[in-house]
């Protein structure tokens, strides 16, 4: 199994210890780890399991159940393109194809230069302004391929 650098291992340990007293803490712990490290490393699982007094299988089961938890380090920018019906009705499929070409990666992949990760997402609640895209937690509506390129160029510039 991969090992964590001591500093990251300490972060995981501290997060789990800080939150263990809360009711049903595991999702909270995983969210905090992902917020701190960008993902939930496999090597974090045994640490969390030990602190929360759960089996590794239980922790692994929760990490892998939820789409939101990443198990690999993300690119500098995470680009999520909505795939749900409302966005489909306004051309999400073509926008997705464009995004794949523009970034040179498929869903769940990170570009070789580490700048972008591309993810599918199922509804951003922006269905009256479809198609919708989220980049690093910022929401964009009525995204045309041209606007997508501009947003991604902005993102690249700010990294």
């Amino acid at each position: 199994m991969e090992t964590l650098p001591p500093a990251e291992s300490a972060v995981v340990q501290r997060i789990a210890s800080d939150l263990k007293g809360r009711p049903g803490p595991l999702l909270e712990v995983l969210h905090a780890i992902q917020a701190a490290l960008g993902y939930v490393p496999g090597a974090a699982v045994p640490i969390v399991a030990e602190v929360l007094n759960l089996s590794r299988a239980e922790v692994h089961g929760v990490v892998t159940f939820y789409h939101y938890f990443r198990r690999s380090r993300p690119g500098a920018h995470t680009v999520s393109v909505c795939q749900a019906e409302a966005c489909q009705s306004m051309g999400a499929e073509a926008l997705t194809a464009h995004a794949r070409r523009r970034l040179g990666i498929d869903f769940h992949q990170t570009s070789a230069d580490g700048r972008f990760s591309l993810e599918p997402i199922y509804c951003l609640g922006n269905c009256a302004c479809s198609p919708a895209v989220m980049i690093d937690g910022r929401l964009y509506g009525r995204v045309t391929p041209e606007r997508f390129d501009a947003l991604v160029a902005d993102g690249a510039a700010s990294s």
């Binding site: 909270e28 922006n126 929401l139």
Partner: protein, 513 residues
């Protein structure tokens, strides 16, 4: 004198540039030494006009939209701070026809107040419902909810009062109020708008629920895709604590109610109530077998109310104005109002709150103005990814739970996704199965395996392999999933497929790749 300018901080408005517009207005005002205060309100829900900004003038609130940063200097030149005329002038906001005909009860303050301010909330009628509730016996509060006819707005439409009564009737002890804010259905955004635009209405509704059934703790289970709503809720909860509307002495009553937001992690199934409870407890969001009902044995094994955002946010209005007043809206067994969301390929999309009873046609054409692409509407999907596709021949159906059930459809959370005549209904059917396969919790076989087989069968039909036999197989598979699944995901994912087969059979012909 300082002029108030309202620029929405609603996620949808921000997605169209409202943040940049707010900044540009503040900067332009500073440059011109104009005394302007920019208030970040929620959205009025007219997304086709967003970013829609408003100016408070002696003639009331006047609207301009859709505004881009490039329009800002021109607006100042046109003296918009004094309601000056401009190409983007929309007149008095309340008089915009799209808004004027609405019956906003639950959404009465959304887009109007500053959602971070308890004082503004109270000034617009907030916390009167709680004050009333605190003067009543718990059973009388529950009775008021029952009399109002309020049914679960999350989609299942179960009578809210009956749920509350079940929790009230459980022996005293730790009970919980949980809010299902896992609004995952495509085409829906009313929960998001409410949480961002009037979060205190939800907080007040949950507090009233706690007082009614004897629960001292509440949880809001919010989906991870809503970071703006998360910030709005946390800000509002802190403000309510500060103003002593939450905590150990709610509004000076000596009663305790505490509230916490928990964030989901991108699992559609967690909108199912038992799966949501599992997730709140920190586990995989696998559906529980019922009984026991959550009202008897819910969160951490304790009696628990599970209600949707709009359901709970409707409670303060009902307590403030009376159950009969709420029940006087609507038709048949669908009482009150429904915040309907017009989404997808629609010219004037957004939120329309109206009493039950208006027709799909009125919504799609009078409010919606037809498709955004200008082509004819071919189909609409109502009620999210598990909702049936409805053809134009059924557009005279009234917005009413029973009328929708009568045509084999469901109203669900009130989201309507519009498709023009370029839609390929076999592909939409395939997507319904694919989505179910991606989001299945895996606990029961019909859903876990059936959805994957469903995608494969539709692929064979589209490839022209044994078309007729595979269509029959698909129909049987749908029947198995409907009858045999543990919860609504596998049990309803076939609805869009079956309705596509029924109304758009011609799309299921084999085709060349």
């Amino acid at each position: 004198m300082t002029t108030l300018v309202y620029v929405p901080a609603d996620a949808g408005a921000l997605s169209l540039g409202a943040g940049e517009v707010a900044r540009a207005i503040a900067e332009e005002a500073a440059r011109r030494r104009a005394a302007v205060k920019v208030v970040r309100n929620g959205s009025r829900g007219a997304y086709w006009l967003e970013p829609l900004i408003e100016v408070l003038t002696p003639r009331g609130r006047l609207a301009y939209g859709p505004v881009t940063t490039g329009d800002v200097a021109g607006l100042f030149n046109a003296d918009f701070l004094d309601g000056g005329s401009h190409a983007l002038s929309l007149g008095a906001t309340e008089a915009i026809p799209w808004l004027k005909g609405q019956q906003r009860l639950t959404f009465e303050r959304v887009g109007i107040i500053d959602p971070t301010s308890v004082a503004d909330y109270v000034k617009h009628g907030g916390y009167q419902g709680l004050t009333r509730a605190l003067s009543m016996e718990p059973a009388a509060i529950v009775q008021a909810i029952t009399t109002s006819g309020l049914r679960g707005r999350g989609g299942a439409a179960f009578p809210t009062g009956i749920k509350w009564k079940t929790v009230l009737d459980q022996p005293a002890g730790q009970k919980y109020v949980t809010c299902n804010a896992d609004e995952g259905d495509s085409g829906t955004f009313s929960d998001r708008m409410l949480m961002e635009g009037d979060p205190l209405a939800l907080i007040e509704g949950m507090t009233i629920a706690g007082i009614a059934v004897g629960a001292t703790e509440g949880y809001i289970y919010l989906r991870a895709e809503y970071p703006h709503a998360l910030r709005a809720l946390r800000t509002a909860i802190a403000a309510a604590h500060q103003a002593r509307y939450l905590g150990s002495d709610v509004a000076g009553s000596g009663r305790r109610f505490d509230l916490e937001v928990r964030v989901g992690a991108g699992a559609y199934i967690c909108g199912e109530e038992t799966s949501m409870l599992e997730s709140l407890e920190g586990r995989r969001g696998e559906v529980r077998v019922r009984p026991p009902l959550p009202a008897v044995k819910g969160l951490f094994g304790q009696p628990t109310i599970v209600n949707n955002v709009v359901t709970l946010a409707s409670v303060p209005w009902i307590l403030q104005h009376g159950a009969e007043a709420y029940a006087s809206f609507g038709m048949g067994k669908s009482r009150g109002t429904l915040p309907i969301q017009l989404a997808g390929n629609i010219r004037r999309g957004g939120l329309v709150e109206r009493a039950f009873g208006l027709t799909l046609r009125e919504l799609l054409y009078d409010y919606g103005g037809g498709t955004a692409t200008g082509k004819p509407i071919r189909a609409v999907q109502v009620g999210g990814p598990l909702g049936a596709y409805i053809p134009a021949s059924q557009f005279d159906t009234a917005v009413d739970y029973e009328a929708f059930a009568g045509i084999g459809a469901m109203l669900g959370h009130g989201g309507i996704v519009v498709f023009d005549d370029s839609v390929d209904m076999a592909r939409m059917a395939r997507y319904a199965m694919e989505f179910c396969a991606i989001e299945s919790c895996g606990k029961c076989t019909p859903c876990r395996i059936g959805s994957t087989r469903g995608v494969e069968v539709i692929d064979r039909i589209l490839a022209g392999v044994d078309g007729e036999r595979n269509v029959r197989l698909l129909e049987e598979l749908c029947e198995t999933m409907v009858q045999g699944s543990l919860c609504g995901l596998g049990g309803m994912a076939p609805f869009p497929v079956q309705s596509a087969l029924k109304h758009f059979r011609e799309d299921f012909r084999g085709r060349a790749k």
